[in-house]
Symmetry: C2
Subunit: 541 residues, 2 copies
């Protein structure tokens, strides 16, 4: 059998290597437009920041070494221009000599990935405009930094890659601003978490400007200024990270079904709608495991899973891919952020009766050096108590919290199933009550009516406006709010009426919760705890 | 209702605080033998090592602050000597004045914990003999170190606490040896993993001696030497960490059912066999979720879960505790180790048809600074493919791997369910193919006959003796073994017969696996991959 694979970064090489490994007598050929294959796309921002020092670390395999190791034939610098599914041939342009060549196949795998979107604006081709997609992009940008050419940079696009680049530019001493035309950075994250991250980045010298659209890049021969709908910004460099577009234009005549974003629609076996044509990686669109709707997941992790499944299936198995959960994790300066599953809004849109909670929980024993907080938002269904999503920020191991949640969601867990788990505890790693379990317990308390609280989002929306703020911290910390010391509350409080609307606010939410319980014992019926306390909320009196 | 709680560290204070929180009008009293309550028992070794600098950090709450905060009455320095379940009274000795007092109850909670075992040997009361159970123990030991009195120490008992103390003593510049009468350190861990840890500790200057029984402690007024069945060792201090014994002697006349180790048997509601008497924490024995047999889990984490469940039930709910998985995690010098679920032997004893694999997998992107390996042993049932256990060592986040596995086991996952999960990936946190998924895939390959391998344990047992060792590393690295470069294998190898027994060995196991697949394509039928490669195994030719 002759398997032809178009594209050779993550998904393409994975399919190819595994095919040959399982069946060395199969003919497997990779056609790729670039000179490199199998490079570490996710590592590029860290090369910019000199966290990854050597460019050779970006290259997992050269075409030669990959070919030798696996037995796969690799043909570089050829661009496929046309697929003829009837004759089972592809036409390709050899970029080295501009000749057109024809390659035949029994099975065709499309793994062409996606290219960065280049907006049709003035100045986009100026010197000093960068993308972050190939090793060459990262190498050029770092050379320019090291040559002292970049003092100020504007990153356009506040997604994962944009922020990773911003972090690494800042680490190199570059003054960085991030602009995004959306109402928040970090698409797919809860707006209140994105807002927290924006404040955090500002504290670390990275300014973010949302609802700010790039209109033009100005400069005489090289970038000097960025023009937006809101203001102009001086810049020596612009990094465009406004999204990617699947490389599928060459399929126009094939009748291969594409999604709205031009990604190839595949079924659970990674088959397109055309016989003997398959797609994997960033050029394909997969399934969201929870919603069973299309989900675009252009991630190295998904690419590998898809590639492995497809190789199995081309070798005669029938494995299916259940899809993604929208999991992501990003490192920022002094803060990690992660998510999995549905956001509050997405869960509502799916028809769930949604309950959410925001908690501030210790990430390890409070007395252990380096201990910090996680700020966690957990999303579940009120009726079934099914866990639907988790998002969090923190200095520590947010990836652990995400992976625990991803496993639980994938296995269709309810909060009841997972509240008393025997998770790992020792002081350097976690707390005696695991931060995950702690959050599950509080959300269950909320659903069961044992805590009456208001979410940071509801607070921001003004839903506690008719409430009087009570400072329930361990010592007075909210100016102008009456302070109530829980440890002195052993009877009714003469200063408050039993039905008075009281918003109990402390640092993290825990002491306010304890005060609410205490007051309930004395007949107070209208108290609310502010979730996330002063750690997550900006209190306005 | 009058709830009397005997004991006030983790479980006792948890029950008490939650009871009062939910129902402030309930009378809740803690009786405790010591002066302290609610101390950070798991932090004590880190106080010894000065990782936790201040002794006040060991005390979560004083009796006074706890009492004020929660409304619980705390009576310290009283030792309960007798329980009369008919009159619903306990008798207690007031240690301050030696008077006997009587306390009544409606509900009695036993949370007396456990005391370190003090072996009946000569010299056990000498100055310089320490335990590691109360803040006082850790404070005394550190004072002695800081006074320059301890140059050499022997830790007796190679369990978690013994090893944590050893690590912290070594960090303080003390020469430490660990002795254990068992055949391995780390009870509950796979012997081959314990063996790896023993070698690792030796490399870091901590010598471990197994099958070494403490016979006497010798010295004139203070510790000078430790006498064992194998040798004598000079020492300025001996830390006894040979296990703990539940504090249940005072229950002798009650008819309360005790387990073999004298821990109190409770049902899923934390009820003893005597009406209105409950037990939680280190004095109780719970359930193993997998085996549904008794499991002693004297951990701060279990204590908190049990305490919370009991408080709910005393307040009229009927929550049940499904039990533990035997989860644990320990930090050692430059190495973390963790486990959850059943060991290979325990799984066999339960009647499972056991499959195991040992993998060496990257813990984060190989090019990211600080990247290292996990060495993982995964245990599953061949027939159902149910995940049964996971153990691992590594410099990185072993706790993450353990928590993912604990969640999967608790939710009764099969390897098939969890092989393609959308776990968190970015270079600073993980690898594109998650180390957990990677291990699941390899174990599935093994069960499905796609890899033929031998485990490190089988190798140690001599099960590859009739095989010829082939060095399948990237460059020759096993002296005297023929080297085969995978990247040059494109046809049959004239030097080997097709049915020759070949043991393929590389650094981690991966390249050997690829070579096996390649050779299979050329008709070789008798190759085996050595799991864990030279990273985990000591190769003998």
């Amino acid at each position: 059998m002759n398997v032809l694979i178009i594209g050779g970064v993550a998904a393409g090489t994975k399919v190819a290597a595994k095919l040959k490994r399982d069946n060395y007598h199969m003919q497997v050929t990779i056609l790729t437009k670039g000179k490199d294959i199998s490079y570490a796309g996710c590592g590029l921002p860290y090369y910019v920041g000199n966290v990854i020092e050597n460019r050779k670390d970006l290259i997992v395999n050269t075409p030669e070494s990959f070919s030798k190791l696996t037995g796969v034939e690799v043909i570089t610098e050829v661009e496929v221009t046309k697929v003829n599914q009837n004759s089972k041939e592809v036409e390709a342009l050899d970029l080295k000599n501009n000749e057109t060549k024809t390659y035949t196949y029994d099975k065709l795998v499309i793994a062409t990935g996606a290219d960065p979107i280049k907006p049709p604006i003035d100045g986009v081709n100026l010197k000093g405009v960068y993308f972050m997609r190939t090793p060459e992009d990262a190498i050029k940008l770092r050379e320019s930094i090291e040559a002292g050419e970049i003092k100020r940079a504007v990153v356009v696009g506040g997604g994962f890659i944009g922020l990773e680049v911003a972090e690494n530019l800042a680490a190199q001493g570059v003054r960085v601003s991030v602009i995004d035309m959306a109402g928040q950075i970090l698409p797919g994250f809860e707006p209140e978490i994105a807002n927290y991250v924006e404040n955090h980045l500002a504290d670390h010298g990275i300014m973010t400007f949302t609802e700010t659209k790039l209109e033009a890049i100005l400069g005489d021969g090289k970038v000097e200024k960025v023009k937006t709908n809101r203001r102009s910004m001086k810049a020596d460099a612009v990094i465009l990270s406004i999204g990617i577009r699947p490389n599928t234009a060459f399929l126009a005549d094939t009748g291969i079904q594409l999604a709205k974003n031009k990604a190839i629609v595949v079924n659970e076996y990674m088959e397109t709608n055309i016989k003997d044509i398959y797609a994997v990686g960033d050029c394909a669109i997969v399934n969201n495991m929870l919603t069973e709707k299309e989900a675009y997941s252009p991630m190295g992790s998904s690419a590998n899973i898809e590639g492995r499944i497809l190789a199995h299936n081309l070798n005669g198995k029938k494995l299916s891919y259940k899809g993604v959960l929208g999991t992501a994790v990003v490192k920022l300066p002094e803060l990690n952020i992660g998510k999995t599953g549905l956001t509050e809004d997405a869960a509502k849109a799916e028809g769930y009766d949604v309950a959410t909670v925001v908690t501030v929980v210790d990430d390890k024993a409070h007395y252990y050096p380096g201990a910090s907080n996680f700020i966690v938002k957990m999303i579940a269904d009120k009726n079934t108590k099914k866990l639907l999503g988790l998002q969090l920020v923190g200095k520590g191991a947010v990836d652990k919290m995400i992976d625990i949640a991803a496993m639980a969601i994938a296995l269709d867990a309810t909060l009841e199933n997972i509240k008393d788990l025997d998770l790992a505890y020792a002081p350097p790693f976690s707390t005696a009550i695991h931060p995950f379990s702690h959050t599950v317990n509080i959300l269950l308390n909320k659903i069961n009516g044992e805590i009456h609280s208001i979410t940071p989002r509801e607070y921001m929306e003004g839903k506690a406006e008719s409430y009087k703020i009570i400072d329930a911290s361990i010592s007075p910390s909210i100016a102008a709010a009456p302070f109530v010391d829980l440890s002195k509350v052993h009877e009714e409080l003469p200063q408050f009426k039993k039905d008075e609307k009281l918003l109990l606010v402390c640092t993290k939410g825990k002491r306010a919760y304890m005060l609410q319980k205490r007051l309930k014992n004395f007949g107070y019926t209208n108290t609310l705890v502010l979730e996330g306390g002063t750690t997550f909320n900006e209190i306005s009196l």
